[in-house]
Subunit: 417 residues, 2 copies
């Protein structure tokens, strides 16, 4: 007997028929005598439908300020519905089950509505219930704020709900069911030879997730890593009897270290902002970063170059595409203070990254990467590196070409690990 | 300054545009310095959409028993969404507002999921919030059960939420906004001359509601009557500046007593069940009623007739159309005990009722009613009376004819009251 957390995303519970299939998977685990907690997302499309209502009404004017608390109340209803429906589907298969909302467990968060962070999970009543053989079906993505309102964890937050619940329950396993059968070396839509990885290290998954691979939410991987909780990513769409090993995301081991690169990720949601004619004074990078931070804009890659003109430099950095408006407004306000002449925005850029813990012990990764891109005439705008990742910003037109080139250059199609 | 409860039904909040109009109505009340609580239903169509999901999954098998607790969790999400959306619409008009779910107030109910009764409303935090000028937008229809689950009050329960909240808050007014501009002498779709009543007594409204007039839920009228809380029924579809007096439902006064009849109601959701060849033994009516009660079937009209055959009688009674299957199953089980030969069901019947507190002091109402029907050749199957109501069961084909005949016979088109 084990204690298991299973998580199902929106496409896995898209309609009553899919919910029945999920119920069958849960029943299999319960039938083996396991204590089972299930975390569900909203039926796919539901969250977007609800967000569209919110957007329509909130666009009426700027009066009244923040509405994130009401956004949370509205959008969390999607998970509420799925949790009830799956509980019914389970009962109809003879499995004892009940739904749990975030406020019922309770899953306590801070008060940062629409992107709340989990503060604690009171598992006493919940653990008691599942230990008596009742499957606990938990509405993901949601919690309760310090003032007793519904809070949500941000898009993709159900992954985080599942991992946090698994940690709090001291679960033996946390299985994240999705619509792909594991974590791939890269996007198979671009590289058909992309391979499913059997195992991947937390750190690698974290880099892949934050570099654009959408299979797991970044915060859920952080949480799993910090608590050394292995996560298995697998598909809920497997046929009965079909093998479904998925990918185990876990602490690094020796086999992983033998791989130089584990995956190639890309993100099109990038915008490159160039400040031209910048007065070359000390601390200007820190100043720009400070302005962006105050505007709640995350700066990702950043590089400073010397311009031809004397005493003048350029500063190039990237932000998320959705933050461009905010970033430009903040720069405009601070133009005098920072002291630049012009600002140029390019949204037609893609960030391509290679990730692998093997980089720590293997040399020549950068050389291989840059050569592969240069051979295909792909210009690199900005470079950013970490211990286990090299990212380059390139013209968006070259995205597929670059991803294929790098996948081939690091021989990721070969059957290892 | 007054304390006001406003309630808006599903058609009044059917889409973002309707929600904006409701926000304007609420703003008008708040702008006058009133303390305002608003109770909202789900957007029209939402509840049916959610119930369809529940029905589909729950029909899979009979295993697992009751699902009413999960039904409540699922269906209550409809009101949750509306409450958040209206709060946003209000803020965008510069009105301070926040949503309240049943569990947040909390509105405590018993544990009879899907048809829970209100046990109490803790108004401390809520009243504090609205007294500080924040409009409280309450998700109607829902509460919290003794074990901390979401409960619902049954279809139409938002009326009851509104009245119960108004009573608990000791409100000065309770305005029920709907898609008609008040309570009519009868259904204007059948009788174009039907008139809106300016005032109607609680008792009359109660009879009209339980006899098929759908403008207010029966339990909400009971609750208002027991607490002598006047309810105003009015439309949310009035143009700006248009008069919208509605109908005041309140304690009876002298002008009301002058009316012999206040309204004509009809209900097509009736089924007539006849037990034939019944052994004429004492207590058989009580026995049949007991069998129905155990099967959770409400018996409405009931009449016993002597059959031609010696020592044998017929018993005729009516039940709601949706209860026919349950009723027949219960009768089948108890056939030996009760001792009847055959059972005949007729679902093509309508109950037509005339209602008025004036009946207490005016004679001849029954005579006028039966004459009007007889003149048009309409047969009466069963009769039931109360102090302020006479109901007849007739062939459904004659419904419109009977309603028109009675509306004319009691001169309800004349401009009184």
């Amino acid at each position: 007997m084990a204690r298991i957390v299973m998580k199902f995303g929106g496409t896995s519970v898209a309609d009553p028929d899919r919910i029945r299939k999920v119920a069958a998977l849960v029943q299999d685990e319960a039938a083996e005598g396991n204590e089972v907690a299930v975390v569900v997302s909203a039926m796919s499309g539901e969250t977007n439908r609800l967000v569209a209502y919110v957007d329509e009404l909130s666009a009426d004017s700027d009066i009244g300020g923040a509405i994130d608390d009401e956004y949370d109340t509205i959008v969390a209803s999607g998970e509420q519905v799925t949790s009830g429906l799956l509980a019914i589907a389970l009962r109809r298969r003879g499995v004892k089950a009940r739904s749990w909302q975030g406020w019922q467990i309770p899953l306590q968060t801070d008060g940062a509505h629409s992107s709340a962070r989990i503060k604690g999970i009171e598992t006493l009543a919940f653990a008691d219930s599942i230990s008596k053989g009742t499957v606990g079906v938990v509405a993901g993505f949601q919690g309760i704020s310090p003032d007793g309102r519904v809070s949500t964890l941000g898009r993709g937050g159900s992954d985080t709900s599942a991992v946090a619940l698994a940690v709090a329950l001291n679960a033996d396993r946390c299985d994240i069911y999705t619509d792909v059968d594991g974590v791939y070396t890269t996007d198979p839509r671009i590289v058909p030879e992309a391979r499913r990885l059997n195992r991947i290290a937390f750190e690698e998954m974290l880099e892949l997730a934050s570099q654009g691979a959408k299979v797991l939410q970044t915060r859920s991987v952080e949480l799993a890593m910090n608590n050394n909780l292995p996560i298995r990513v697998l598909t809920s769409f497997a046929d009965e009897g079909q093998e479904n090993p998925g990918t185990l995301v876990c602490a690094e081991d020796e086999t992983m270290e033998e791989r130089v690169v584990s995956g190639v990720a890309y993100s099109r949601d990038e915008a490159q902002i160039s400040l031209l004619g910048l007065k070359d004074k000390p601390g200007v990078v820190a100043q720009v970063c400070g302005v962006m931070s105050e505007a709640d804009v995350i700066v990702d890659m950043i590089v400073q170059g010397i311009s031809q003109t004397e005493n003048s430099a350029n500063l190039v950095f990237t932000v998320g595409e959705r933050d461009v408006k905010k970033a430009l407004a903040a720069l405009d306000t601070a133009k005098q203070d920072i002291g630049f002449e012009d600002v140029v925005v390019n949204e037609k850029v893609t960030k391509v990254s290679v990730v692998g813990i093997g980089m720590r012990s293997h040399t020549g990764v950068a050389h291989t990467m840059f050569s592969a891109l240069a051979e295909r005439g792909i210009n690199i705008e900005v470079i950013a590196t970490s211990e286990i990742k090299i990212s380059v910003l390139i013209d968006a037109e070259y995205t597929e070409l670059a991803v294929r080139a790098l996948h081939g250059a690091f021989e990721l199609e070969a059957s290892r690990g």
